[in-house]
């Protein structure tokens, strides 16, 4: 069992291998399409990011509103490939860990390895279950975006599985191969 505390250290990421189950503790940030676009627009204008992402984790999710007495609503991962176009500039600003669902493009994987980052998946569609791992949440940026705002989450043992590691390991390719008994025709 691997437990990581945020912000993560480069040495922590180096140890991770595709297939490892990691439990995150501490602060993680949420972000999805609209927030990513704004962050990258900020960089494109030559301005500084409003959040220091060094060693940080971005979890691709847009939660439902919290019920009274609960820290957050349902908060499962959204598809990560939509963030591919924005991830490289953020990794260049120190972002190390991305959590979402689904596979991502070859260009992203290349850049992630170069920037010594890691991509993990949480279980898609398990939003109610994952909400139990979040102890506190607050909107810290772009409140006008509603569910797409950037939230700061305090998590305890938030589970995710290493999908692409910095050594080139690729869980999806390895695992699918094991169970594929029908090849696609060209």
């Amino acid at each position: 069992m691997i437990r990581l505390h945020t912000p993560v250290k480069d040495s922590d990421i180096k140890k991770l291998k595709a297939g490892d189950i990691v439990y995150f503790n501490g602060t993680i940030f949420t972000g999805r399409d609209a927030a990513h676009q704004r962050l990258v627009n900020t960089l494109d204008k030559g301005e500084k990011l409003p959040i220091d992402f060094h060693g940080q984790v971005i979890y691709y999710t847009g939660p439902t509103p919290a019920k009274p007495g609960r820290p957050i609503g349902s908060c499962g991962p959204t598809s990560s490939y939509r963030m591919d176009a924005y991830s490289t500039p953020l990794m260049k600003e120190g972002l190390k860990v991305m959590i979402g669902k689904g596979d991502r493009g070859a260009e992203f994987i290349h850049d992630m390895i170069q920037e010594k980052g890691v991509y993990l998946q949480a279980v898609g569609g398990a939003g109610a279950l994952l909400s139990r791992k979040v102890k506190k949440s607050e909107v810290v940026l772009y409140p006008d975006l509603g569910a797409e705002a950037i939230y700061k989450l305090e998590v305890e043992d938030f589970p995710a599985i290493v999908t692409y590691d910095m050594h080139g390991g690729n869980l999806i390719v390895d695992e699918v191969k094991k169970y594929q008994t029908k090849q696609l025709e060209d």
């Binding site: 297939g19 609209a34 999710t61 847009g62 939660p63 439902t64 509103p65 919290a66 019920k67 609503g73 349902s74 908060c75 499962g76 959204t78 598809s79 490939y81 669902k101 689904g102 596979d103 998946q121 279980v123 898609g124 569609g125 398990a126 939003g127 109610a128 279950l129 994952l130 909400s131 139990r132 975006l145 509603g146 569910a147 797409e148 599985i161 869980l171 999806i172 390895d174 695992e175 699918v176 191969k177 094991k178 169970y179 594929q180 008994t181 029908k182 696609l184 025709e185």
Partner: protein
């Protein structure tokens, strides 16, 4: 002629939206539980167990099973002998608005596809109407998630492509979608009609009960064959690899032009949410 009060439509839509988002239903849960037993991958099994646990939590504590509470699709089957005292589309959207605001569901609809901006109440719904005999209104409501909808498509095949062409298109679509549409899936397929008809019947096919059997023997055979072949692709639960990529294939057909063979594939994630009520 029967008068139906629009307030009743609004209330019914609201209740269906709340219910659909929190209750996957016993019938579908049974299929997921059965899949755990059959899944060959250990990771896959674990993912399916988490999905079942998630759906049980959602049902017990009445909260959305998935944070993507969808854009709402509503099918209205309106009897010829029904009289309405106003705009039924407004009444449906009011029901969606109330459910998503009062029920703390996520607002996932933009005001405009290009300039974006959130409509903040999850309206408008996508509403389809059909006129049918009788004096009742049947409402089927489905909160449809973006992840699985994004992996859906329509392709205009030609007659010479035939069944092999249809299968090839489906298998490619499911394989390259991988974990993005949140498998295990229900795959809705519309064959025939024209561009929009194929998409419509594919969506309608997703509203069928998970256990039902297609009355058309040609389609029933194709459903069985495609389900097996999809599950041989190895994509597995959430794309982590495994033998459970789809739980069901539901196909609908419609006559088409002599030059055409339209095929629409509408993908449904494992949060297969649809509820029906008759007024």
């Amino acid at each position: 002629m029967r008068n139906v009060d629009l307030g009743l439509i609004t209330k019914t839509v609201k209740d269906l939206a709340l219910d659909a988002n929190c209750e996957i239903g016993k019938s579908f849960l049974d299929v997921l539980r059965e899949a755990i037993k059959k899944e060959k991958s250990e990771i896959g099994k674990n993912v399916l167990e988490q999905i079942v646990e998630n759906d049980e939590i959602a049902s017990a504590s009445r909260e959305p099973m998935c944070q993507d509470t969808g854009m709402v699709v509503v099918f209205l089957e309106i009897g010829y002998d029904v009289h309405l005292n106003g705009d039924i589309y407004d009444a449906v959207n009011e029901g969606v608005r109330q459910a998503y605001i009062e029920g703390l569901l996520r607002k996932s609809v933009t005001k405009h596809p290009i300039t974006r901006g959130n409509s903040n109440d999850n309206t408008p719904a996508v509403i389809h109407t059909k006129l049918v005999p009788g004096d009742q209104i049947k409402i089927t409501l489905a909160p449809k998630g973006g992840g699985s909808e994004n992996m859906s498509l329509v392709k205009m095949l030609i007659p010479s492509d035939g069944v092999p062409g249809i299968k090839k298109l489906v298998l490619h679509t499911i394989f390259y979608a991988g974990g993005k549409p949140c498998p295990p899936l229900v795959v809705g397929i519309g064959i025939g009609g024209n561009l929009e008809k194929s998409a419509m019947i594919a969506k309608e096919a997703l509203m069928r009960d998970i256990h039902d059997i297609n009355p058309d023997p040609v389609l029933e055979k194709l459903e069985r064959e495609l389900l097996d072949e999809i599950n041989e692709l190895g994509v597995g639960p959430m794309g982590f690899g495994g033998s459970t990529t789809a739980l069901a294939v539901k196909i609908a057909a419609y006559p088409c032009h002599i030059a055409s063979l339209p095929v629409a594939i509408n993908i449904q994630c494992h949060a297969s949410r649809h509820k029906t009520s008759i007024i």
